[in-house]
């Protein structure tokens, strides 16, 4: 970087900046030549700047005049000579001063012109450099943009695809919920009269059996009907009415149990979807896990063993449907780890700042190489078409969306443990979508 002359228009000049020996000395020589004994230009303090003398003459009388620069006395011209020539000396000093002031005027004008010129040029140069720098910067940005455009487009497209898939997944869950709610309503109505009628039937059947017993005891008490008793007893045996009468009560009881189960399944499905609940509510996480388990029950592989290590939890403020979705995806994933006899240990506990829920399975564990990717959208180890690779991604989104975190561990003795930390203290609840 070249050093630039730094100028301020108006910077002070000294007398020697304006005048040079080449200009002033000939004038002093002229004064001496014209008859003065001594002529000099001094500073205001009396220091000699330039001087000339004729040693043949004696300077008895001295005349001094001030040299002015921008209104300020900046020097003195001194002329000495013989006493008789006093007026003569004044004249010489006057001419000398006029000449010096004239030179000062011209030189100052030159210096000021040069000064403003240099200042303007420097400024223009600086502005050009700045403009050039800005242009280079912007050119650089465009070049970079052009070279990375393709990659950026690909990145953004992938992001959009992921977002789209997540949205689809969420919508799918929502429509399942809606369907469940609709079905629950439709099923509950017939289920209501089935249950009610079964109860009535149970009562009626008991009365009929009582009446049969009554007839039987009436006939047996009168010997005149012995023949009739014998015939009807044979028919009774033929129709196997003894075991039938004994079977009626359990049959109806079992049907009522079945109807109760249907009712519970429907209620669970509806509850799981939280279709009737508001966006945000306070839920018991243990109950939500149970609800999710009952919805998934029909898909449990043979010999499934669920161990619940629940601790008492404080009410958790969240979007209940989202929390059920979260548990759904994690439990579903854990149970798929083994085709039969899977064992899932679900533990819950609450600290002062968070609720911890962990799911430990007895599957083959997750290979270390892919452990970091299981929450990535579209990542799946299932065969093509078997899984979307969105389940755990959506679970991850839900947890991070409410400010929690997920950890995956694979103990040396097998299986994998997914631990979810759900923060208790949140300033405000932000729905994920």
């Amino acid at each position: 970087m070249k050093r630039q002359l730094s100028l301020v228009v108006g910077a002070e000049k000294r007398l020697t900046d304006i005048l040079s020996a080449a200009e002033v000395v000939p004038l002093l020589e002229g004064a001496v030549g014209a008859g003065a004994a001594y002529a000099a230009l001094l500073t205001p303090d009396g220091e000699v700047i330039w001087e000339r003398a004729n040693h043949d003459r004696i300077g008895k009388v001295s005349v001094a005049v001030s040299v002015m620069l921008e209104g300020e006395p900046v020097g003195r011209l001194v002329v000495q000579g013989e006493s008789v020539r006093n007026e003569y000396l004044d004249g010489i000093a006057g001419i000398l001063l006029g000449a010096v002031q004239g030179i000062i005027g011209v030189s100052l004008k030159q210096v000021l012109t040069a000064e403003i010129h240099t200042s303007v040029i420097n400024q223009s140069y600086d502005e050009l450099l700045e403009t050039n720098r800005q242009l280079s910067d912007s050119e650089g940005r465009y070049r970079e943009l052009a070279s990375t455009l393709e990659q950026k487009v690909a990145e953004r497209t992938a992001e959009l695809e992921h977002a789209h898939s997540r949205l689809l997944q969420q919508q799918k869950m929502a429509s399942v919920g809606q369907l469940a709610a609709g079905m629950a309503h439709e099923i509950n109505n017939p289920l209501g009269f089935i249950t009610s009628n079964l109860h009535t039937l149970q009562k009626y059947a008991a009365r009929l059996i009582l009446m049969l017993d009554y007839y039987s005891s009436l006939l047996e008490s009168d010997p005149a009907y012995a023949r009739l008793v014998q015939i009807s007893s044979r028919k009774w045996q033929e129709l196997k009415l003894d075991p039938i009468c004994a079977d009626v009560a359990p049959l109806i009881g079992q049907s009522l149990d079945g109807a109760e189960r249907v009712k519970k399944i429907v209620a669970d499905l509806k509850g799981f979807s939280h279709i009737d609940d508001s966006e945000v509510g306070i839920v018991d996480l243990n109950a939500e896990i149970d609800r999710t388990l009952s919805v998934l029950e029909y898909r449990f592989p043979p010999g499934t063993d669920i161990v619940k290590n629940y601790r008492e939890l404080p009410g958790y403020c969240c979007n209940p449907a989202q929390i059920c979705q979260l548990f759904f995806h994690i439990i579903e994933n854990a149970l798929e780890a083994r085709p039969e006899r899977p064992r899932l240990i679900i533990s819950t506990s609450a600290g002062s700042t968070a609720v911890i829920v962990s799911f430990a399975d007895n599957g083959p564990g997750i290979p270390e190489g892919i452990r970091g990717r299981i929450f990535d959208p579209f990542f799946t180890t299932k065969e093509v078409g078997a899984g979307t690779g969105m389940g755990l991604a959506v679970a991850y989104d839900i947890v991070t969306g409410i400010g929690g975190s997920v950890e995956v561990a694979c103990p040396a003795d097998g299986g994998s443990i997914i631990t979810i930390m759900l923060p208790l203290q949140r300033k405000q609840y932000v729905p994920l979508l």
Partner: protein, 218 residues
């Protein structure tokens, strides 16, 4: 401030006459030169004018010594008003201690005044000064001409800003010294506390203004 040297006991101030082209900035300085006493002021330097238009600048220097011995030089500059000399205007405006804005009173020139004032605001910021802190006086020049903006209109526009406004005719020689005196007064007021002109150098505001505007007896 161009320079302040405590050791050399020297202070160099810069006052700038700004304004649109042909508003009479150079005429203001010419009149000051004519009207004010020789003592304490230097000669008017007019740099390179073509057809009486300022290309670089004009300079009228003043010099006075405070009772304490502090030498004070006040350099009064004009800037070229023509739009194309913006670089020169910026260079001259650097480190200005006060600005007199010379507006052209003719009603046809209002747009030029506004443009030039915007340019002043922009350039003041560019050279690192604060338009709200730099002493500023506005002179409405050419009051002698017909078809000028009425004084009442001018006062109603500028009155609320608190910026002092002086009516003048530089050609006829009135309002010029008043403008300069007001600018000197405000400039003094702006630097007095920091440089202790009254307290340490025994130079009071009235004396400062009077010595700068000492009229010629000729």
């Amino acid at each position: 401030m161009i320079e302040y040297d405590e050791h050399e006991r020297r202070m160099v101030l810069k006052l700038v006459y700004y304004g649109p082209a042909l508003s009479g900035k150079t005429t203001n300085l010419l009149r000051l030169h004519d009207l004010l006493a020789r003592e304490g002021r230097g000669e008017l330097m007019m740099l390179d004018t073509t057809d009486d238009r300022t290309i670089f600048f004009d300079l009228l220097p003043f010099f006075l010594v405070a009772p304490s011995g502090l030498k004070i030089k006040i350099k009064v500059y004009t800037v070229p008003g023509q739009v194309r000399y913006d670089a020169t205007r910026k260079a001259v405006l650097q480190r200005a201690d006060g600005v007199a804005f010379i507006a052209d009173s003719q009603s046809t020139e209002t747009a030029n005044n506004v443009e030039s004032f915007d340019n002043l605001e922009k350039n003041i910021a560019l050279v690192g000064l604060d338009i709200d802190k730099v002493p500023l006086v506005i002179q409405f020049n050419k009051r002698d001409l017909p078809d000028t903006v009425p004084e009442a209109d001018i006062q109603s526009v500028w009155g609320p800003t608190g910026i002092p406004v002086v009516m003048a005719s530089a050609l006829e020689g009135w309002g010029v010294v008043e403008t300069f005196a007001k600018l000197a007064e405000m400039t003094y007021g702006n630097i007095d506390r920091r440089y202790r002109l009254t307290a340490e150098h025994g130079l009071e505001q009235r004396s400062f203004v009077e010595r700068l505007t000492n009229r010629s007896s000729e």
